[in-house]
Amino acid sequence: MDQQSKDQAPRSRLGRYWWVVGLAIAALIVVVLAPLASADPDGLERVAGDHGFLQSARDALYSIIPDYNVPGVEGNLSTILAGLIGIVIVFGLMVLVGRLLARRRSQD
């Protein structure tokens, strides 16, 4: 009873558009936190550097938005834009995949 009323109160406030809030949180992380990200090498890159196999990395075959920087845009804005583009792409892709999988059941 208590549990149920707790679950339903926010639902009535945000309705079925709670996912907009979810996307806004993801966007906020990109805008506020991504520019503050540590520029130090991450775990794997650090190990590769320390143990001499960093140079075995091969360049990408092509580049679209390399290093999360939109070409032609400077500084933090470039990273933020890249992040927002990424959010839209993965959200769109997964909603598309989800809809296909949820609506077209295989015959078994």
Binding site: L33, R58, G98
Partner: protein
């Protein structure tokens, strides 16, 4: 990242370091084997998700992918000039189940490689396995077991997810070390302690972010936590 530094020559603008394994770190045979394993898991994931996904859970697939993509851009500092970032496999699996969670992780890692040149294409199977499947399948299995021992999911969601999240990062780093060693890139005696040593710390960040995200959802929209086990009405 590596390419960018070489190409620019001058001091690059500080950017989040690109973290996923680039092509060249793994030998082609090992990369192909990892692709095969990953494709097999993905095929099962598509099939299982097709059978069980409830339409109401579809927006959560998108939001979880968006959150994990965003959070992976935030590298946090760990000791000694090294950073780490969220992987998100346990988070995705706790929210969506192991199979739909696997699809989310594969989507994020594929987009990072294809659009953002973060992670190689030949080694993408290994990257999806190490950073996705290890957490969504192994991590979720551990999560369920721990939650069971600790008195059920509703009571133990936070501690169980934290331990599973930490374990998934350490296990993923062990997989990467083994793949590096089998590829002849660096001996296991070097790769294993180095990778595990760093990821024992990075895993703490993974645990904190996973617990915070699940705690936030439990407080604000606990009903979303039930979408994982929601099933479409029988036809």
């Amino acid at each position: 990242m590596f390419a960018a530094i070489v190409a620019r020559g001058t001091t690059p603008i500080p950017t989040p370091p690109q973290m996923h394994a680039p092509d060249g770190f793994l030998s082609v045979p090992i990369a192909v084997v990892m692709w095969a394993i990953t494709l097999l898991v993905l095929a099962i994931a598509v099939r299982r998700t097709n059978r069980t996904l409830d339409e109401r859970a579809v927006p959560l697939l998108g939001v979880t992918a968006a959150f994990i993509f965003a959070a992976q851009m935030f590298n946090f500092q760990v000791v000694g000039g090294t950073s780490g970032h969220l992987l998100g496999g346990v988070l995705a699996a706790v929210l969506l189940g192991p199979w739909a969670g696997t699809l989310v992780m594969a989507c994020v890692i594929a987009v990072q490689a294809l659009v953002f040149q973060d992670g190689g294409l030949v080694v993408m199977g290994a990257n999806i396995f190490n950073m996705g499947v290890v957490g969504t399948l192994g991590g979720f299995f551990l999560y369920r077991a721990l939650a069971g021992i600790l008195g059920g999911e509703d009571r133990a969601r936070i501690p169980a997810s934290g331990i599973a999240a930490w374990s998934s990062v350490v296990a993923g780093s062990i997989c990467m070390a083994v793949e590096l060693a089998l590829s002849g890139t660096t001996p296991l005696s070097i790769a294993l302690p180095a990778m595990v040593g760093v990821h024992v710390l990075i895993g703490i960040g993974e645990a904190l972010i996973t617990m915070a995200a699940l705690g936030f959802i439990a407080v604000t929209r606990a009903d979303l936590l039930r979408l994982r086990d929601a099933r479409p009405a029988a036809v």
